[in-house]
């Protein structure tokens, strides 16, 4: 079993055809028989057709030609050998080349079996030169046929019963890649898929042998037999290797099409023959619609750059350059650029931004997997890589299912107060699969060190563990327990006793269900789960509104001085900044605006006003282009901001305009909620939105224009999502009326569109 056997099978057929050619009385100066397609490559599986082309000079009479051809083909047909043949002169071959993509591709593998070597060599030369010269015609047509084939045959890596030849990532894709490579229109590292080709070809050969049929679909019933024939441990091991091979093929295919569509075609680059490159941040630029890490970048100076590049690419809806990935993977393999443990905060934030990018993250995650970068970051992922789930409920391997769950979760981030925990848990909820042990229990154990390494704190880890342990609880309870029975409700609230975790578990259940597929999730099931959640909520006397911050005695004492003061603490990659300033309308937006101008990205903030003096604590992440921050600089900029709000607004607008030129991905609409009775003498406004430059400035500015005061604020950025909770009052004090609260909420929502 393997290449040698397939070659030997091919040689046997060559011999048979040569004997028939000789006995037919054909003149080897006037006619030749050539193999094309897989037969041309000498790769014959037991069920493969014999694809041959009979080429002649045109000097035979039609009757004589028919006699020769019949003398060759009839004995083959009599032996039940399937033959796909054509009989053509050289000019007819040229004609067919121009009209038929299939013929053009088949002839790229042409090989002389018997007869005139000159005739075959001439056709081979014509086929190759035509393919190269007309690649601009052939390749778009090829892309269209691939898409149609994918629609019909699905993805090899993820189907329960895939077609080894026709499915996406299958053997026919390898033939297509070879043809693309030969065209000269692009350069492909074909050696990357040589192992994949061997795995898929051998699996197909074994399938033909054990089934006794020429079909290429690896049916459920055949998988155990093929696995045993090829000495795999079991069918799961076979399907995992087949899936991995198909993913490698598909990855190269994606790379090929990107290269074909974008190389040198960015802006004026196609005319100037010079690649246009837009710098996004130090070490990272966009070129040919790819995010590129500078070729001279020293990975040891910034171990977070891989995650930063991945998150940037995902949020821009672009791919990561193959060369950058390769360089980064090489660096990691040689011990350079390794992330410290625990990860710094910004590394975690970039991971969450990557996960939260929705469908745009799939291709990037796949690339990180294919380049094995992912396993340097998350070694635990290897345990579920291409792990099949051979049951009718699932449509994906375990790893892809978790990625798809994260994609579904990205659309639900506005439904929860901790989108970071939702996205992280969605990506790892089935990490415990792969053994006989209950995967929820195993996952609960595995996730603890993983989450700690990524930098979550203990209370967050406890929530993550709870979510993974109980990720099937709502679905199972809703469909199998009496929701009218109080014991059912207390059975859930016993495990999930606060609203924050309940809303996370609800969103995770939905995302998991959608990702699993129609067999596991429907409107019917969703309504049952929602009903259960609604009943559990009624039983929980908790709330999810963030409480106002408390000030320390030292802060109260500093505030009593009533003057502008600034303290900066450098915590490595981030700054903790305390600003104390006399309160004024719009203070929050001014300070956040100044931080924005100084290229300091606000990750969190807590502000509270006491005796008309605001105490603000900011955690900010400096942009790689940020100036070196000093107390004097910040005081100077704040003073300028207080004196001229108009100029500040204009400078911020200029920065926003610069950012809006970059592409973006779709994300859920912002939500603005008001809570009238949740605080004494204040109204709470909660804004949940996708993060963007100067978001807090926009919100604060709108609040200022509504003529209301911000008494305190809690600002949190989690990956690419922001949750801002504002305690607001009328200027003279007192909570807002229902109408005023609605008006403010509507105006904030409007400002975020």
């Amino acid at each position: 079993m393997g290449t040698r056997e397939r070659r030997s099978r091919s040689n046997e057929r060559d011999l048979l055809i040569s004997e028939l050619f000789t006995s037919s009385g054909a003149d080897s100066e006037k006619i030749a028989i050539a193999a094309v397609g897989s037969f041309g490559r000498g790769e014959l599986s037991p069920g493969s057709d014999l694809d041959i082309v009979i080429i002649h000079t045109g000097s035979y009479s039609p009757a004589k030609l028919t006699e020769i051809v019949n003398a060759i083909l009839y004995p083959l047909w009599d032996q039940k050998i399937k033959v796909d043949h054509s009989v053509r002169t050289r000019s007819e071959v040229r004609e067919a080349l121009g009209e038929d993509l299939k013929v053009a591709m088949g002839l790229l593998d042409i090989r002389l079996i018997c007869g005139s070597a000159d005739l075959v060599a001439e056709v081979q030369s014509t086929a190759l030169s035509t393919w190269r010269e007309d690649s601009d015609k052939y390749l778009p047509e090829l892309e269209k046929t691939l898409e149609e084939r994918y629609q019909r045959n699905g993805e090899l890596a993820y189907l329960l019963e895939p077609d080894l030849k026709e499915s996406r990532g299958g053997l026919r894709d390898i033939t297509a890649l070879r043809a693309m490579h030969i065209s000269g229109a692009l350069t492909l590292p074909m050696e990357r898929i040589s192992q994949a080709e061997s795995i898929l070809s051998t699996a197909r050969e074994a399938l033909h042998l054990v089934s006794g049929r020429d079909k290429d679909r690896l049916l459920f019933t055949e998988q155990d037999k093929v696995a045993a024939h090829l000495n795999y441990l079991d069918a799961d091991a076979l399907m995992s290797e087949v899936a991995q091979a198909a993913r490698a093929v598909d990855y190269l295919m994606q790379m090929a099409w990107h290269q074909y569509h974008h190389k040198g075609r960015d802006g004026f680059g196609r005319f100037l023959k010079r690649v246009r490159s837009d710098v996004i941040s130090p070490g990272i630029s966009v070129s040919n619609r790819e995010v590129v890490i500078d070729s001279t970048f020293d990975f040891d100076t910034d171990p977070v750059i891989g995650l930063r590049a991945a998150a940037t690419a995902a949020q821009l809806g672009m791919r990561l350059s193959f060369n950058s990935l390769r360089r980064y993977a090489d660096a990691l393999d040689t011990g350079r650029g390794a992330l410290p443990a625990p990860w710094p905060r910004e590394a975690r934030e970039y991971l969450i931004s990557l996960i939260g990018a929705g469908p745009a993250m799939v291709e990037i995650f796949e690339a990180l997997d294919q380049e094995e970068i992912l396993f340097h970051w998350i070694p635990e992922w290897r345990g579920v890589r291409s792990l099949p789930q051979r049951n009718v409920l699932h449509r994906h391997t375990v790893d892809r299912h978790m990625v798809e769950t994260a994609v579904s979760a990205a659309a639900l981030t506005r439904e929860v107060h901790r989108p970071d925990l939702l996205l992280f848990t969605a990506l790892f909820h089935d990490i415990g699969k792969g053994t006989e042990e209950d995967h929820s229990i195993r996952g609960e154990g595995l996730i603890k060190p993983l989450a700690a390494r990524i930098g979550f704190n203990e209370s967050d880890i406890a929530i993550i563990q709870k979510l993974i342990r109980h990720h099937l609880l709502l679905s199972a309870t809703a469909t199998r327990r009496d929701l009218d029975d109080p014991a059912t409700i207390s059975g859930v609230s016993e495990h999930i006793s606060d609203l924050g975790t309940l809303e996370l578990l609800h969103a995770l259940s939905i995302a998991d269900g959608i990702a699993t597929g129609r067999a596991a999730w429907s409107d019917w099931k969703a309504s049952l789960v929602s009903d259960l959640v609604r009943r559990v909520k009624l039983a929980i006397t908790d709330n999810t509104v963030t409480q106002q911050p408390e000030l320390t005695p030292e802060q109260i004492s500093r505030a009593a001085k009533g003057k502008l003061s600034v303290a900066i603490e450098d915590r490595g990659n981030i700054y903790a900044i305390e600003v104390i300033a006399p309160d004024k309308t719009g203070l929050l937006s001014i300070v956040s605006g100044v931080l924005n101008i100084l290229r300091l990205d606000v990750r969190s903030a807590r502000t509270k006003t006491i005796n008309n003096v605001a105490v603000m604590e900011w955690i900010v992440l400096p942009d790689p282009n940020a100036p070196d921050l000093s107390q004097e600089m910040l005081v100077r900029e704040l003073t300028r901001g207080f004196e001229s709000e108009g100029k500040l607004a204009q400078r911020i607008q200029d920065r926003i305009d610069a950012y809006t030129q970059m592409p973006t991905i779709p994300f859920p609409a912002p939500i603005v909620e008001t809570f009238l009775d949740a605080a004494t003498d204040a109204t709470i406004i909660e804004v949940r939105s996708h993060d963007r430059p100067a978001l807090l400035f926009s919100i604060g500015d709108t609040v200022r224009k509504c003529n209301i005061d911000i008494r305190s604020a809690i600002v949190t950025t989690l990956g690419a999502e922001a949750i801002d909770t504002l305690y607001v009052t009328e200027i003279g004090g007192g909570a807002l009326s229902i109408e005023r609260a609605d008006e403010v909420a509507t105006r904030i929502e409007g400002s975020l569109k």
Partner: protein
Amino acid sequence: MKLITAILKPFKLDEVKDALQGAGITGMTVSEASGFGRQKGHTEVYRGAEYTVDLVPKVRLEVLVDDADAANIVDVIVKAAGTGSIGDGKVWTTTVDQVVRVRTGERGPDAI
């Protein structure tokens, strides 16, 4: 021959399936359904927001039986599906003219 159709609370499905298997029934069709009867929809108020539940999720179970077994099987379903509270569901029978097993072509009670 009779077609017995039962509308049940979803969580009762496993019990009803077990009871039917205990009564010798080996085949059945189950589908997701939603609707309301005397139970109607209901309205709940939570944190100031009003939720109206118009259609209640149910399971629809169908079993083909010989005429002589119909009454007993209905009783088995009713017993296993009951909680005594509103919304337990309904069971009804309809007369079936003909049944054909597609694989073998058998007809009538032999096809059940």
